[in-house]
Symmetry: D2
Subunit: 380 residues, 4 copies
């Protein structure tokens, strides 16, 4: 079987998740290509060497440009600080590599668009790491929506809330830098925007409100001096969808007690779906028209009858984990590249174009918050 | 012990709930006055006679004007269609009666203000039926907020969703009439607005979106002809509070599967509270700073250590019901009137002034939705 | 309409609950007779006088014998310490009164049987206060079982756990006295035995284990001296039902954190039901054979389509409370007496015979625990 | 770094889980040895060849005896039908291999004991696949119990229920064979027995009840003929622990709607823990003595502060999956072997001795069920 040679840039949390996913995917799914962990780059050669050994890569380099230019590399996987996404991706595309990039795609909408344009012009396969879309229960949710079994979607109330920045003594980090895709909306809100788009379709207009709750944070842990923060700790938006649905979106990284509340309530004319990532092996479904007095939300537990779950476990209720979502994500990339190699037209999902749409909505929310009026997303 | 003579106008669902509450309250609480179910009026004498017998009133009348004018009546309890709230309340106040009025206070903000002004000028006690505020677990929530134990409130995400109008075949009713306080926002959204104000304080600015999902409904059940609907089936708003908190409010009566989702997530700088009326004998509380690895939302179960619960049951976890909330509500009225009779200055909560504030926010949301811009509540 | 004159013995928690229920029931249900709170007795005249005033009884007495003998009294409601149930009930039956008795029916099985025999010989209506059986959601559970929609019941796993005796410093009380129906099994375990019988049918054999976790308790709060405890703090049993089902029963009053965990999981060949009294307005139902991948337990929320709920509230999800269960219980009594007065044969449920069966199973568990072998309930 | 050469026997669900775990563990944990997927055997060479390719093993064989005898193999991992556990393990031990065996250890207690004796005599490291014990939240539960923070454990109510055999039309399989460790108690009940022992300690006496609900099953899917079933579809037991605690255990594979209800409620004198494998990234904890009116079970969400979680993800609430439990399990094996190679005395947990204890309790339950009396586990 043909191989797919992986070059990974970055070996932090997300880099490790990529490595793990590429390592696992072949044993779990029947793939057209076998991923090979080949070359790893990091900020310097020593770091890269250590990471390559730990994560099972054959080679390493302290220079991402060398990785991108390496003829043996088929896929450039980008798990760097956000600011590097654009230069690395653009260089990789220019070198004809397929690109797997973490979200957010870029730190400006202009960069994101340039990346999309370059990728489409060059015809490479791209994939962006909105891994929560890969959950079998979200696949089920989308299937239910598309089947029409809950009628037309009319309402969506979504949130992504965590509490890792809730403590005002949490120091200033790159996440607080506005030109580094900082802020709750950009950092985690993009996941719920991606989810909304995945399930309901394009968002066409927004009214947003950004809120910097802690306007200064220590320059470093325990330091006395503070550094001003201008990005949002929480963000709220009213949204209108192309299909006529309306709703709200919230993002917060100061939501005390919430660890991974990527959650939504989706209402259709004949039923509803409710979900939270904190119990992501479950989906709650209500369908109207059931027997009187016996209706209610049913809690569906993930099992092999749901897309991709069976690859991990043949028994229901045993549960998949976060890293498994990443493995499913990687599968989409390998399949798309396999198809392209076989001469078929194929794209992975969500690709750079999808990610641009998500970034565009986030940008529209920012503009709306600034101008205190509704913004048509198409104008951004 | 002195008595408090009740005149009840209306014997539908809410009228019955009033009667039940006045009948039960004396056996449960130690009150300064004993409520006496005296006079009941309804649309005609026959209906009133039957209701008076069923609900245990001594007398009846087919004319609410007679009830309001009756010198024996101390309290006029109004449980009529919304349109009658204002004329009955104004007449009752003019006659020097205390007034217990169901929400919404009136069908226009102007009427509500006139009612408030009249009541305050005449010095009568007023109470408006936002019964969900009377829940012992909501008392606990407010106590927690006021104690500062969860820091400063910075976020509020509230909803009141039900599904009684979800079926597009549900006929046009008075709830669909704009001049009768129709629409999801006015009809049930006012409860979550009241809750937000109760726990976080005044809302100062809003950006709203009203959505009529089903623009026509059958003129009556099973009829072929439809009648246009202009009120909202669902409403969304961004809100800013006087204390600086921000958040979202949603109201919907088409939320399939939701029976009584009056729910909120309230975030403070040191903790969070989560609640849903569908499990109203529970409150979920998170406080930061707990032992590492053992933190989490705790589910507090209502018990006698929570305000008013012990009057119903000395054992925790046994649960109070909807009608018990109404009984607690009535207690507030009887206590306030008792205090006034004893020469003290007293008000029940929420009174006409409180209700006006709630109506004002709802109106601001409507204006905002029309004009597609933020509205300062003070300007309405 | 004819009246039904109530004589209530005892004005503690349960006495008040009786009074409240008799007072409320007429305004909520369409009854053949109107209950009248007539005569209240308590340990002495002063206590009785005060309670009669507070609870709305016309008359009072310090002597239950006088109450039982009073010709005006139709129903004797017994809410006294357990030890008095038998003498009062037997005297009331001898006087031809209908009897409404709190559980446990008596402190010995022999007494319980004597009470049953006397009542049946005299032809009076009896009712025992297993109020949790009156929950509309339990009515639904029974309906589902009887419909065959979940096939044949094959398993039952029940528990009644609370924590009011969990603190070893909790003083010795009458609940600790073996000859006063003390112990977790007798005191609260009887509720889950009643529930098991209600839903699955008679229990035919048991293997039990009683466990006195705290063998001594302070003679009174804060006292240094302790008094030996011989009754069970927790009890466990294996059970076999007449229909072939098997399962387990647990009772505990030391289950830290549990306030009202009267809970069960009932398994049938085609579905399952799960319930806990801590969320008693919900029932969880699973039915096999649903669409692949969309199956799951559904959470049914109590509403007017469920038996008796609509009398309290016309809207689903608003919830009934503990006292409302007591009101539904009282309704059964009034209806049965009404039927008897109208010349029909009628019994309330659960009556003295039902209660005897429940006591018999508890006794069999005690015997089994002592002898460390299975006991056929029929032999007790 | 030294390597640890793995020989895997069997490539079904559990074989794949083993392979996946050995492949992943090195990239996630800092280990003394690097596992190498070397040799895979299966029922025939062709099956083995295909599985070896899919799972990433270097070599394959159709004969497990060749694998066991292979000098290059350090660890024999056994994921075969239950009947083969004993012969393979005994041969592997005789060859001086470390053994990682799926549960149940053997199909008879005698075999299990022989395996334990052989392993201890030969001094090899053994590990048995009770993977649910490896959950970080179970590690937390044990830590809480050991800390004394919930006092002395006095009660345990455990269950392992699934529904994969609930349909009476499900054909007879090896799981229905009594001499193949068939039946709900042996097949899945052993997990809850292992959990009980892990958290509360040794079980010393039992009273059991086995129940064959479906006494015949189709000889194969869709066949008309049925084959008699003698093993239990559900089993119940009363249990006594060495520390004085008492409780119940239930096992069922016909519990409609349950997919992975490995669940327990553990009660201590100062607190309680509740858990279900269907939400295995959560643990519910109650500790007495909290502030009045604010107490309650708290839902702890798995995060990096819990043992082993951080290896998979640095952020809480993201969740680990079933296969990750297997990876943690394998880590214990590699660490123990590393320690032994380094000349230290070390054992993995749970090893053959632990597994024998678990099997012994299951056997005692079976004897008790047959003889309808309590059985001291020590006598089995």
């Amino acid at each position: 079987m043909d191989t797919l040679t992986i070059g990974l840039v970055g070996s932090g949390f997300m880099g490790r998740a990529h490595a793990q996913a590429f390592r696992a995917v072949g044993g779990l799914f029947d793939l057209p290509l076998t991923p090979v962990l080949d070359l790893l780059s990091d900020r310097d050669a020593a770091t890269a060497a250590q990471a390559a050994a730990a994560l099972g890569f054959r080679r390493h380099t302290g220079d991402w440009r060398a990785l991108v230019a390496d003829p043996a590399v088929d896929v450039v996987a980008i798990a760097t600080p956000n600011r590097l996404h654009a230069p690395i991706a653009l260089a990789a595309i220019a070198a004809g590599k397929h690109v797997y990039c973490e979200k957010p795609l870029a730190t400006t909408l202009a960069d994101a668009r340039a990346m999309m344009a370059a990728a489409e012009a060059r015809g490479v396969v791209t994939l962006v790491g909105f891994n929560y879309l890969k959950n079998p229960m979200i696949a089920l949710a989308r299937e239910i929506v598309e089947s029409g079994d809950i009628g037309t979607v009319t309402g969506f109330r979504g949130i992504h809330a965590e509490d890792f920045m809730a403590d005002p003594a949490h120091p200033f980090t790159w996440r607080c830098e506005p030109d580094n895709a900082g802020g709750a909306l950009a950092d985690i809100g993009s996941h719920i925007l991606a989810m909304a788009r995945h399930l309901v379709g394009d968002i066409t207009a927004v009214a947003g409100r950004l809120h910097t709750v802690h306007p200064g944070r220590p320059v470093m842990a325990g330091a006395a001096g503070t550094r001003p923060v201008t990005v949002d700790d929480q963000a709220h938006a009213l949204v209108e969808f192309a299909n006529g649905a309306t709703g709200t979106i919230t993002a917060s990284w100061i939501a005390q007690g919430r660890k991974m509340q990527l959650a939504f309530e989706l209402v259709g004319t004949k039923g509803s779906i409710a979900f939270t990532q904190e119990r992501f092996n479950e989906l709650r479904l209500y369908q109207s028209g059931g027997p009187a007095g016996r209706d209610g939300f049913r809690t569906i537990v993930a099992g092999p009858e749901h897309r991709d779950y069976g690859a991990f476990c043949p028994a229901p209720g045993h549960q998949i984990g976060f890293n498994d979502l990443k493995t499913i994500e990687v599968k989409a990339l390998v399949e798309a590249i396999g198809a392209v190699r076989a001469g078929r037209k194929a794209a992975a999902y969500p690709d750079f174009r999808d990610a641009c749409e998500i970034e565009r909505v986030a940008e529209a929310i920012r503009v709306s918050a600034r101008e205190r009026r509704w913004i048509e997303v198409a104008t951004v």
